[in-house]
């Protein structure tokens, strides 16, 4: 039977699910810290800031149709330089994975499994993720599509349930901000949008390669929308001062919401449960991508046998930070610098070099 490719809807789902992960928990408070009530501006601008790079990635995929970034890169910048690129990518994926799974472990420990050691949570999550990491990008996109339903349903439930207790006056002043804060705000938010770099691989397998750009953009727009909804609802529920104090306002808001006479009382647990799937959808592509990068480094045809050894490495990295503060300061910093390379620098270099090469040929 013919090889089924990734449909446009799946590509969109892949971008949304890869983007939304642990970032959504802390985003409202971290952006409120910088921009106060005008945080939504940073959310929109940060999302829009990713678009040029989404565009570059799409153009690259168009130039090298049917091939993945980590493979054609060596033709563009040379084998040795691209090997270094790939090593940086690998480090980025591993540290990012460690960062995500560590925060995930902390949240699960805090809200669901108080007596379970965090190591167990991290290891089990990594093992469950490695199962899909060992498969192919098509399975991952199908999974993304399935998880998108859960994200959509949870968002709708989240909105409906919080409506009765909303205090819209908390939103204002929505336009009062210092112009100097914008760069900082945007750079903070920008990293809530990382994850979409999985399209460096996925675009090679897309069925209808003409409209990928449109659907990639749509994926980003939906992410922006979901972040905006989260921000507005947490802000209106808590008010700016309380919001700033929260570490994970998106979860604690579920504790606030209580509908009298309603069957489900403690929504946070249910939301946490569906959030497990959301984090899984972020980690799956990362796990897969790190395996693919490794297989390109060693020129092997398959990537799946690299994934299980990677689990141990990620596990070790994830347990290095001693506390949650360290995770959010040091580890976050490292991920950011690596992400700048992975999303901004490397694709741009490749894009410019291949443009120049094309021009020379003509």
């Amino acid at each position: 039977m013919e090889e089924h490719k990734i449909s446009n809807g799946q590509l969109k789902a892949l971008i949304i699910t890869a983007n939304i992960g642990v970032g959504i928990l802390s985003l409202p408070s971290s952006i409120a810290d910088i921009m106060n009530n005008a945080g939504w501006i940073a959310i929109v601008l940060g999302g829009l800031a990713t678009l040029p790079f989404v565009y570059i990635m799409n153009k690259l995929a168009e130039m090298y149709r049917g091939r993945i970034f980590y493979e054609y890169g060596k033709e563009v910048v040379g084998n040795i330089l691209f090997k270094i690129f790939n090593v940086v990518y690998l480090t980025y994926f591993l540290v990012f994975l460690a960062f995500v799974v560590r925060i995930f472990g902390e949240v699960i420990e805090a809200y669901l499994l108080q007596n379970t050691p965090i190591e167990v949570i991290i290891l089990t999550m990594l093992l469950a993720t490695s199962y899909i990491g060992r498969s192919d990008i098509k399975s991952i996109s199908r999974m993304a599509f399935l998880i998108l339903y859960i994200i959509a349903i949870s968002t709708i439930i989240f909105v409906i349930l919080s409506l009765p207790t909303l205090d819209l006056t908390n939103l204002f002043p929505a336009f009062k901000f210092d112009i100097k804060d914008i760069p900082k705000g945007v750079s903070t938010v920008f990293f809530s949008y990382v994850g979409f770099e999985i399209i460096l691989i996925a675009l090679a397998y897309v069925e209808d390669s003409k409209s990928t750009l449109k659907f990639s953009f749509l994926g980003i727009f939906y992410t922006i929308l979901i972040y905006l909804v989260t921000f507005f609802i947490t802000l209106s529920q808590f008010g700016i001062h309380e919001l700033k104090k929260q570490i994970w306002p998106s979860i604690s808001i579920m504790r606030e919401i209580e509908l009298p006479g309603f069957f489900i009382e403690n929504l946070d647990g249910i939301m946490m449960a569906s959030w497990v799937l959301v984090v899984f959808a972020t980690m799956g592509p990362l796990m897969y991508a790190s395996g693919v990068v490794l297989s390109n480094l060693f020129n092997t045809r398959k990537h799946n046998f690299f994934v299980l050894p990677l689990v141990t490495i990620v596990m070790i990295i994830a347990l290095i930070p001693e506390s949650l503060t360290q995770v959010y300061s040091t580890m976050d910093m490292i991920v950011r610098y690596l992400a700048i390379f992975a999303i901004i620098i490397a694709p741009t270099i490749l894009f410019i070099v291949s443009l120049l090469k094309r021009r020379k040929r003509v």
Binding site: Q10, F145, V276
Partner: protein, 498 residues
């Protein structure tokens, strides 16, 4: 296949060879006789007793040869030159006569129920089509009963089964391609498809997989299923099996392929997806709104069948805060006297249900019902009264079992049952987080699964989303509104209603 010895000119030598091959096969009947006015031509017939229609042999083969042939005197010239064609074309009044030129061909033909007619002096053997054996009549299928709909079911005879399909689709484009599989069993397998609907790639994939099989015997279609499925380790079936000809006919019209295996009433239909396992043929015979509700209920039942015991374990042992406060207290109060942790309780009850189910399937009929009643009522009641399990546990387990039986496909429900146990174990270790991990593992397994190259989770996972396969999977829209064939099979002819 090796050709074997050619048929010898001398009848006796051939007989000796064949008798040698059929040594100790006492169900093979040999009959040697002489024909002609002067009894100068010796002939012999060989057949397997019981596999042939003996009336046909005696009335249409032996009588013409023994009686009529003696009355007419053929001219000596024709006899010498062409006795063989004289007999086969002139005397035998059986509709289908073939020729065999090797001993092996003769043996194979005799084993499927043909009669071999050996004539002295010729290097070929006439094979008379005389198949006929005891067969079961067409009954109502026991596994898939419907309130409204046709009551005929497939039988063990392949020919009857192809007729049941042919009677429903009287179209020359419905093809019935015969394949013989099994070195020893030589089982006939019919590949059915509608030529201008089915996707050619799917068809060639099916044929290729069938050719690849090298096994001695296909006893039942499940053996064939395991040999050609994409992932034989998965607990989930990747092909449908059905006893209902109407369901097969409908599937063929969707661009799918059916495999009818001789000697079993269970016909394989492929490819199958998550959606097709949730469809029952009766959905199409009841009002669309009722059928749609029934479909949605089945999906809910699917979730209950997988999750209910796991969630019970997780909420009682780890995360009672997930329940509304009142309910959490109630659950705790019912469990106060239960001496076991929720896991043990759940596993004990699940195991009991499995015992009952197993016993019920082995012993059918009135005793089976008794076992159900004794098991369900007495054991459950006694266990609660003895304080070994909480009443809520009984409800959960009973609900799970009933839910899993609402699914139209027993095999698919069995796959879910497998994951139910995995989720229960994970819930016992990691609470609600474990339940989610179990779901992740099951989901990953499902998205990785293919049925003949078609994603098992379609159309839910994106494929066919545009053209709206969902309206025949999640619900059932009125017939006039479902103008297209489902997209997941990539049919050549997409329109159902022109």
């Amino acid at each position: 296949m090796e050709k074997g010895d050619p048929v010898h000119k001398k009848l006796d030598k051939n007989m000796k060879k064949i008798k040698d091959i059929f040594k100790n096969c006492d169900d093979v009947v040999y009959r040697q006789f002489k024909v002609g006015i002067n009894q100068e031509f010796s002939l012999a017939i060989i057949y397997v007793d019981g596999l042939v229609n003996s009336d046909a042999i005696s009335d249409f083969a032996l009588r013409p040869l023994l009686e009529t042939a003696r009355k007419v005197e053929p001219t000596p010239l024709t006899i010498r030159d062409n006795l063989y064609s004289l007999i086969t074309e002139g005397n035998i009044s059986i509709s289908e006569v073939k020729e065999a030129e090797t001993i092996n061909e003769v043996v194979d033909a005799v084993l499927v129920g043909e009669t071999a007619l050996l004539i002295d002096g010729y290097e070929k053997v006439a094979i008379l089509s005389t198949r006929g054996w005891e067969k079961r009549g067409i009954d109502e299928p026991e596994t898939e009963t419907v309130i409204r709909g046709p009551r005929d079911g497939f039988t063990e005879t392949l020919r009857t089964n192809t007729v049941l399909i042919r009677r429903r689709i009287k179209d020359p484009r419905l093809k019935v391609k015969m394949v013989e599989i099994g070195e020893r069993s030589k089982t006939d397998v019919a590949v059915l498809y509608i030529e201008d609907i089915v996707n050619e790639k799917l068809l060639s994939e099916v044929k290729e997989r069938l050719e690849r099989i090298k096994i001695d015997a296909i006893i039942e279609s499940s053996v064939l299923e395991e040999l050609i499925e994409d992932n034989c380790i998965s607990p989930f079936p990747q092909m449908e099996n059905t006893e209902r000809p109407d369901s097969v006919a409908a599937s063929l019209l969707e661009g799918r392929v059916a495999l009818i295996v001789d000697n079993t009433p269970f016909v394989l239909v492929l490819p199958a997806t998550l959606g097709t396992f949730m469809q029952s043929s009766e959905d199409y015979y009841t009002r669309w709104a009722i059928a749609s509700v029934a479909r949605i209920i089945r999906y809910i039942a699917g979730f209950v069948a997988v999750l209910a015991p796991g969630l019970y374990i997780a909420t009682t042992a780890f995360n009672p805060e997930l329940l509304p406060t009142g309910l959490a207290f109630y659950v705790a109060s019912t469990r106060i006297n239960v001496p076991f942790p929720a896991v043990v309780e759940a596993f004990a009850m699940e195991l009991t249900i499995e015992f009952l189910r197993e016993a019920g399937t082995r012993i059918s009929g009135p005793i089976g019902t008794t076992i159900g009643i004794v098991g369900g009522l007495i054991i459950g009641q006694a266990a609660v009264e003895a304080g070994i399990v909480s009443p809520l546990m009984i409800i959960v387990v009973a609900l799970t079992t009933v839910a899993s039986f609402t699914l139209p496909s027993y095999e698919f429900a069995a796959g879910l049952r497998f994951y139910r146990f995995i989720i229960m174990i994970l819930a016992a270790i990691l609470g609600i987080y474990g339940v989610m991990l179990g779901l992740i593992v099951m989901g990953t397994h499902l998205v990785k699964l293919n049925s003949f190259g078609i994603p098992f989770t379609s159309p839910f996972s994106g494929l066919g989303f545009k053209t709206g396969d969902l309206k025949d999977v999640l619900v059932r829209v009125p017939v006039s509104k479902s103008k297209h064939r489902p997209d997941f099979t990539f049919p050549k002819d997409k329109k159902r209603i022109k």
